[in-house]
């Protein structure tokens, strides 16, 4: 795509989209949103970039293989947090019982493992969107 306006708009909007996505991920426990919505916003920002600037530049920024690896990593992260409970002698996916600092309600750092899990889910969803986009476009082009 060779549209000048589109390219300028995307390059201006991209940082805002990423920051907003991260904001939604990190405020999932305080306001509507969370890992899925925030990860979707981050991922769609990257998809926007790849769609406007072409697949080569897109895969330069986020390589195909990296997206797949991050995806495995995100789900593993979630599961690993669950296993903390098992190793601490409580149950799988326990939160408060594992003795993690819970923080002050309504503060940014609160909720124990919830914030950690949200981060993992956010990363995973973002890479999922990117992977799906790459897979579907590559097929279209070949």
């Amino acid at each position: 795509m060779k549209d000048y306006i589109l390219k300028r708009v995307v390059i201006l909007l991209l940082p805002l989209m990423q920051v907003f996505g991260l904001y939604v991920i990190f405020h999932g426990h305080l306001s509507p949103g969370g890992g899925f919505a925030g990860g979707m916003i981050v991922g769609l920002g990257l998809v926007c970039y790849a769609a406007v600037y072409g697949m080569e530049k897109g895969t330069d920024k986020v390589p195909d293989r990296a997206a797949t690896l991050i995806e495995s990593f995100g789900t593993l992260w979630y599961g690993a947090v669950g296993l903390v409970g098992v190793f601490k002698g409580t149950l799988f996916l326990s939160n408060k019982a594992t003795g993690v600092p819970m923080g002050q309600p309504a503060a940014l750092l609160s909720g124990g493992w919830i914030l950690v899990i949200t981060l993992g889910v956010g990363i995973k969803v973002a890479s999922t969107i990117v992977t799906l986009f790459y897979a579907l476009t590559e097929e279209e082009e070949s």
Partner: protein, 100 residues
């Protein structure tokens, strides 16, 4: 044409069954409904105490029912792998990847 009428009849029958059932549903938006019982009371009343977050939906999704969310993430993971195995067949440009 006959087929279309048949399909429409099926759908109308489904609608009819649905409406008869809806008439029997607990009234919409009232406090005394069976849905608003001890389960939701605990979520509303003690989520902050139990999980330390003020968003009750997040408290349920990532703490009370975190196991469900792990599986939900797995659904997304499964879908990605499914898309990859369907689309990336390794036959690109007529060349086949070396195996074993």
């Amino acid at each position: 044409m006959v087929k279309r009428v048949l399909y429409a009849l099926v759908v109308i029958l489904l609608c009819y069954i649905g409406l008869v059932t809806v008439a029997e549903f607990p009234p919409y938006g009232e406090e005394g409904n069976p849905v608003h019982n001890y389960v939701s009371e605990r979520y509303i009343g003690e989520a902050v105490e139990d999980t330390g977050v003020i968003n009750m939906v997040t408290a349920i999704v990532l703490d009370y029912r975190a196991y469900d969310t792990l599986i939900e993430t797995t659904v997304l993971f499964t879908a990605t792998i499914a898309v990859l195995i369907t689309l990336k067949t390794g036959k690109k440009n007529g060349k086949e990847e070396e195996v074993s």
